[in-house]
């Protein structure tokens, strides 16, 4: 997995723009960008499953919400907890849940996989919905953001919105590089093979189950990171975060941005959040417009915004650009 040259430059430019944004953007929009970046990490984690492993998970919100709940549960009402243990703990919790759910789900394919991931996510959803000790359907608050201190020195004060902004930006860039690296690894090669042709991958000697399973776990952990950041950002968590609607929306965002591109889902998150924010201002029936947009995307933009971008960049058919992409990649290998 390598980005083509123009895409690389565009990404670099995007990161630079994001880095200076807090200095030029109004506070409200800075907040909005934080939300977009967190959503972007979440969508990117799902892209690892849908776009690269070929697993359409309809329960991804469960891992997002679960990590958020873990942070809210371990944080007392009087002070923040250290990020150094709460972040790994939250991510591990999501990873563990993904390991258990994945162990059962990854055996199935197609519609059944979609449905069994939905079923497990609904179980997690209802668990928190009914867990009165954790706020039931109203959810919980996080009164203090996690602390990043060594000894008595404050390394990062996440309560400061600007610091938190850069922390999220850093997480986004790190996640992108990490997943990109993952896809360039032997493991990445195998999961992409599974997406392209699973039975063939098995027939040349890969126990595909384990690769799908591990991919499911990694995606769950990355979703956990996003969930951790989200709760740190908003200060609340509720079962609604784990509901099937959220799983549906994140699928939509991934497709909107462009499957199997990693950066596409981040663009998808951007488009979705900005659209939602703008439409809301004009009409309380904005869901109607959103519905029409969703249908148009499904019908006419199956490769998402990045597919459109590709066409503009190369001024030719997408198939050919793919061809070139792979060409570049192989010369480098």
């Amino acid at each position: 997995m390598e980005f083509s040259r123009p895409v690389r430059w565009l990404l670099l430019l995007a990161v630079l723009l994001l880095a200076v944004f807090p200095f030029v953007g109004a506070d409200y929009y800075t907040e909005l960008v934080v939300r977009i970046m967190i959503f972007g990490i979440f969508a990117m984690s799902l892209d690892l499953l849908i776009g690269f492993t070929g697993l359409v998970s309809f329960g991804h919100a469960a891992f997002f919400g679960l990590a958020g709940y873990v942070l809210a549960i371990v944080t007392p009402e009087s002070s923040g907890v250290s990020l150094f243990w709460s972040l790994p703990l939250s991510i591990l919790a999501s990873g563990l849940a993904a390991a258990i759910i994945g162990w059962f789900s990854v055996r199935t394919t197609g519609i059944y996989f979609i449905m069994i991931t939905l079923a497990f996510a609904q179980m997690v959803f209802y668990y928190f919905q009914e867990a009165v000790q954790w706020g039931g359907s109203d959810g919980m608050f996080l009164f203090f953001r996690p602390t990043v201190t060594i000894g008595n020195t404050v390394i990062l004060d996440l309560e400061q919105n600007r610091t938190f902004y850069y922390f999220v930006l850093g997480s986004l860039v790190a996640s992108l590089l990490l997943v990109k690296r993952l896809l360039g690894s032997p493991f990445g090669r195998v999961i992409m093979g599974i997406k392209a042709n699973e039975s063939r991958t098995r027939a040349i000697g890969y126990a595909t189950f384990y690769y799908k399973w591990v991919s499911f776990i990694i995606a769950g952990m990355l979703a956990g990171l996003a969930g951790y950041l989200e709760v740190t950002h908003t200060g609340t968590i509720s079962p609604g975060y784990l509901a099937w609607h959220e799983s549906g929306i994140v699928i939509m965002v991934v497709v909107l941005g462009g499957l199997g591109t990693l950066y596409g889902p981040v663009i998808g998150a951007f488009v979705f959040v900005v659209l939602q924010d703008t439409l809301q201002d004009y009409t309380s029936h904005w869901l109607l417009i959103m519905g029409i947009l969703v249908i148009l995307i499904a019908l006419f933009l199956p490769k998402g915004v990045t597919g459109l971008l590709d066409q503009i960049l190369y001024r030719q058919g997408i198939q050919n650009t793919n061809n070139e992409d792979h060409g570049h990649q192989d010369h480098r290998t």
Partner: protein, 291 residues
């Protein structure tokens, strides 16, 4: 729990199962024959309920309202099939999820624009409004028994259609295989149009039948959607028999879950589904084809 209470609860579970079967039968048809995941199924259910409320008000007769309402829904669903769904037959599940998700949003808003946000109710028709004494304290409404009878008739009817008719032959042939059906000299587009509208009409019909007991309100389709998916998947996609068994299982599991495991009641259904899929990944009566 003594025997009487147990039996009453079994009756409750079975009765709920029939209602679930009514809703799920259309879903499993569309699922199985067309390979379409129709998330908008719940929205059709809701539309059915609203239409019967509206027509019942105009005509003053519940059965006439259904008789007129079902064709309306068939027309509506044919339009949707032609202008949206039909573009998706060769696409993957992902596009279907998206498109039908968009349909939910549109249909929900359309409902608000047409009928507003008030709660409505549809009176139980006079001849079915009686009750039967069940135990010393509890009666059983005749209308609920009527729902069961309708469910039973529908199950029987679908069984006959599938076993005895040409459409049924296509279903049994495993119509996910387009080429094969086309080789048989059948206009597949026509078949798909019919199946989709029958599926939508069944959803709407079950919304109509359920309206007198459930009341009519915005968002009423959301809750029923997921549970009918569970039914279909447990039973095996495309299997009417499976949907029937699945509906009964979920009906009973819900009822006894509420009574015996009040703290886990809503998880029981999903645990059951996960368990069955782990045991039989293609559902109870699903075909073992990879999709």
């Amino acid at each position: 729990m003594d025997l009487t209470v147990f039996l009453v609860q079994v009756l409750n579970g079975v009765q709920y199962g029939f209602l679930l079967f009514l809703v799920s039968s259309g879903l499993t048809l569309v699922f199985g024959i067309m390979g379409i995941i129709n998330l908008a199924h719940g929205a059709f259910y809701m539309f059915g309920a609203y239409i019967v409320f509206w027509l019942n008000g105009v005509l003053g007769n519940f059965f006439m309202a259904i008789l007129l309402g079902v064709p309306i829904m068939i027309v509506l669903s044919l339009v949707i099939e032609r202008f949206a769904i039909s573009y998706l037959y060769q696409r993957d599940h992902l596009c279907q999820l998206l498109l039908t998700y968009g349909l939910i949003l549109i249909l929900n808003e359309a409902q608000l624009l047409i009928w507003g946000s008030d709660f409505y109710s549809v009176p139980v028709p006079e001849i079915l409004s009686g009750r039967i004494a069940l135990t010393e304290n509890q009666d059983y409404p005749i209308y609920r028994l009527f729902i069961s009878v309708v469910g039973l008739l529908l199950a029987g009817g679908m069984y006959l259609v599938i076993q005895k008719t040409r459409l049924g032959m296509i279903v049994r042939a495993g119509a996910s295989n387009r080429e094969m059906v086309e080789v048989l000299g059948i206009n597949i587009n026509l078949v798909f149009s019919i199946v989709f509208s029958v599926g939508a009409a069944l959803a709407a019909f079950s919304g109509m039948i359920a309206a007198p007991v459930s009341s009519v309100f915005p968002g009423m389709g959301n809750g029923i959607l997921i549970v009918s998916f569970v039914v279909v998947v447990i039973g095996g996609i495309g299997s009417i028999k499976g949907a029937f068994i699945g509906a009964m299982l979920i009906g009973l599991a819900t009822t006894f879950g509420q009574v015996l495991l009040p703290n886990l009641a809503s998880m029981v259904v999903y645990a059951l589904m996960a368990g069955i899929l782990v045991w039989r990944p293609q559902g109870l009566y699903g075909r073992t084809t990879s999709s």
